[in-house]
């Protein structure tokens, strides 16, 4: 299969008055179409920075990012989900979900609007389209945030710890929700998380990063058989094996530093 997203020898340094900090060093990996990849690593290692690079919000110091064979520009359609849903409290759910269309000046585009309605109906938010975010539960809000990105038919979805602000119970069910939406819509997704179980339960592959300056430490393919929901994947006997593997990779990392 051809590589859909390619990060080619990416390095990035930050400049501050105190000096230059190398955040990413020679990051090199690729993601296939419709694949779900997670990135885990010690906190502060630059996981979010990698997403910002893919989204085109930051430019690498060296190396390049190619999506579908092309360089990322302002017009590349990218879906970005954050830790918090970032719904605008002064807009109704419908207006929140369609803000991307407004930005792209497609507010009157019939096809896009039909897709919005279809997504809202399919994922149980149609009845709440005139509600305001503060009237909804955390899970529903996160689903709305996902639909907001899907409206623009993103080429790739970037998830930056989107479940970490939710309580454990909600987190498990929202994980299932989001995972099923992403699979149904045939989206390619990259998830950044510090939660190893979350990463294993959702992804096809896991990229383990080293501490700063971050490099790709190892890439672990997760094979838990047929398509299953994240919750069921957590029950698989192989699950704990993968957990140990990645846990060890990450704790090695800590020992080396101390």
């Amino acid at each position: 299969m051809e590589d859909y997203l390619q990060l080619k020898h990416i390095s990035l340094s930050y400049h501050t008055k105190e000096g230059e900090v190398l955040a990413l060093s020679d990051i090199d990996f690729s993601v296939q179409k419709n694949e779900f990849v997670s990135i885990v690593g010690p906190s502060g290692c630059g996981k979010t920075t990698i997403l910002s690079l893919i989204a085109g919000l930051l430019k690498p110091t060296s190396g390049e990012v190619l999506l579908d064979g092309e360089k990322i520009t302002k017009d590349t359609s990218i879906g970005y989900m954050f830790q918090r849903d970032n719904l605008f409290p002064w807009r109704t759910i419908y207006k929140n979900v369609t803000i991307g269309l407004e930005i792209k000046k497609k507010k009157k585009d019939k096809e896009s609007l039909e897709r919005v309605d279809e997504l809202l109906k399919k994922y149980g938010l149609y009845d709440f389209k005139n509600s305001y975010p503060n009237q909804m539960s955390g899970g529903m809000r996160q689903r709305a945030a996902l639909i907001r990105t899907l409206c623009l038919k993103p080429k790739i979805l970037l998830l930056d710890e989107p479940f970490s602000a939710l309580d454990y119970q909600t987190k498990l069910s929202v994980c299932d929700d989001v995972h099923s939406i992403i699979t149904k819509e045939n989206q390619t997704a990259i998830l950044v998380t510090h939660d190893i179980s979350e990463a294993i339960s959702m992804s096809n592959r896991i990229i383990v990063l080293s501490k700063r300056p971050a490099t790709v430490k190892c890439i672990q393919t997760i094979e838990l058989g047929d398509i299953q929901t994240p919750l069921k994947r957590r029950e698989s006997p192989k699950f704990s094996k993968y957990f140990d593997l990645i846990w060890k990779e990450l704790s090695n990392e800590k020992e080396e530093t101390s």
Partner: protein
């Protein structure tokens, strides 16, 4: 989801609601009583001669004065002039201050360059500019409005700028990831996000614009409530001073109420 109003409350809840009502009622009652007692005492003590009505005026004398002003037609004339100056000053300062804040939000460089100037302007007592204003725009209504604008505009700029800058970085990144231009980020995110702060600024400006106008009228005026107060003071007519002050209180209250209504509309949907 918000819960619908339930009809069948438990006894405890009914008692709770009743207590709430009683609490609210007694508060308002005490507020009214306080006012009545103060006015009553004032009237009583001046009537029996414990306090000198010449220095303190009295509620009845204030009323007589107001009726007098009303009958010779000058009450609404003076109110009209002061109100006109205040409202114009208030509107111009609010709009101008917000526009300056938008420009400063837009350009980080300009913000950095102008920062010390704004700080100094904010600290400067604007009344000190009184003579300069009179020379530049003439001793008339324009001078009063200019004073009013000067007093409100700096604080408006500072408050709005800090509201614009406090916009959540994640939300800005979100807009950028969807390909939003800077102008779109401004109009769709930064400005609506600062609406709550804008209402607070309006509230501050209601108070400040009255300060500006009355101060302006103290400096130069031929009419208006500030003029009546200064004039009353000069001829030792405390009735006039007190009556005009009372009218000012009422006007400021009304303007504040308007902003209050606006606040309720804006503040409906917060995070």
């Amino acid at each position: 989801m918000k819960k619908r109003k339930q009809v069948n409350y438990s006894k405890e809840h009914k008692r709770y609601l009743k207590n709430l009502k009683i609490d609210k009622f007694t508060t308002i009652l005490a507020q009214v009583l306080l006012l009545v007692v103060l006015i009553g005492l004032w009237e009583l003590l001046t009537a029996v001669g414990v306090l000198d009505a010449f220095f303190l005026s009295s509620p009845s004398r204030m009323m007589v004065q107001l009726v007098d002003l009303f009958q010779n037609g000058s009450l609404f004339y003076h109110i009209g002039i002061t109100l006109y100056e205040t409202v114009i000053g208030f509107l111009v300062a609010t709009i101008l201050g917000t526009l300056i804040a938008i420009i400063l939000w837009w350009s980080r460089k300009l913000r950095k360059i102008l920062d010390p100037y704004i700080v100094v302007l904010n600290a400067l007592p604007k009344i000190a500019l009184g003579p300069v204003i009179i020379i530049w725009v003439g001793a008339g209504t324009m001078a009063i409005i200019t004073m009013c604008i000067l007093i409100c505009v700096v604080i408006t700029t500072l408050s709005m700028l800090s509201a614009f800058l406090s916009c959540d970085e994640d939300k800005i990144s979100l807009m950028r990831s969807m390909g939003a231009s800077k102008f779109q980020i401004l109009t769709k995110l930064v400005i609506p996000n600062a609406l709550g702060e804008f209402v607070s600024v309006l509230k501050i400006n209601v108070g400040m614009s009255w300060v500006g106008t009355i101060m302006g009228e103290y400096l130069v005026s031929k009419a208006g409530l500030g003029y009546l107060i200064v004039y009353g003071g000069q001829v030792f007519q405390l009735d006039l001073v007190m009556a005009s002050t009372l009218v000012l209180c009422i006007l400021a209250c009304i303007m504040y109420l308007f902003v209050g209504i606006l606040e309720k509309r804006v503040g409906k949907h917060k995070e």
